[in-house]
Amino acid sequence: MNKLVVRYFAVYRESTGLGEESVTSAAATPEALFAESARRYPGLERFEAARVAINDELASWDSPLSDGDTVLFFPPVAGG
């Protein structure tokens, strides 16, 4: 089990009702971690264009998670 900080942005922040939470999770990847969050927050949708970052570095959905990581879930972006 890893202790993780999970942060939600934009529509994900609104879907979860929070910007950040601390979780203890057995999820080995961001993909699995997101699925856990989506069970807690039914409005959270795994858009294809969603991205994930670990400790302020863009990561892939199957990157390994380590104890103490901060995981950022980004819904599809729309800059400009």
Binding site: A10, E48, A49, L58, V77, A78, G80
Partner: protein, 142 residues
Amino acid sequence: MFEICTGSVDSTRLARELADPACGGYATFEGWVRNHHEGRSVSGLEYEVYEPLAVKEGETVLAEALERFDINRAACIHAQGALDIGELAVWVGVSAPHRDAAFDACRYIIDQIKIRLPIWKKEFYVEGDSGWVNCEVCASKV
């Protein structure tokens, strides 16, 4: 030379830094808050920006442009927070010896900024509701 600012962009200072006596061409792009989007009347926007990664990725985009095109200087500012119609949401400027490269690099930068930076746009409609751009429209579920 990538910056995030709060509220409408003021490009004066960064634009001045693009001046270069070896450059004959200078191209800029500005994104303004438009009063309509996909058939709906828009009353204003709010940009949410995750600044640490937006700045890092924005600097990467500018470095790529300097690498790929024959340009001398490039800069970009993106707004965060609430903006009214007509306000400046994003500004890109590029100076180059010749105009071809200035145009191409300016276009490259704004295209990449729009798709790669952790920036989200919430539109407020004149009917009073609001929506995150790209969420329901452009994005499909996995």
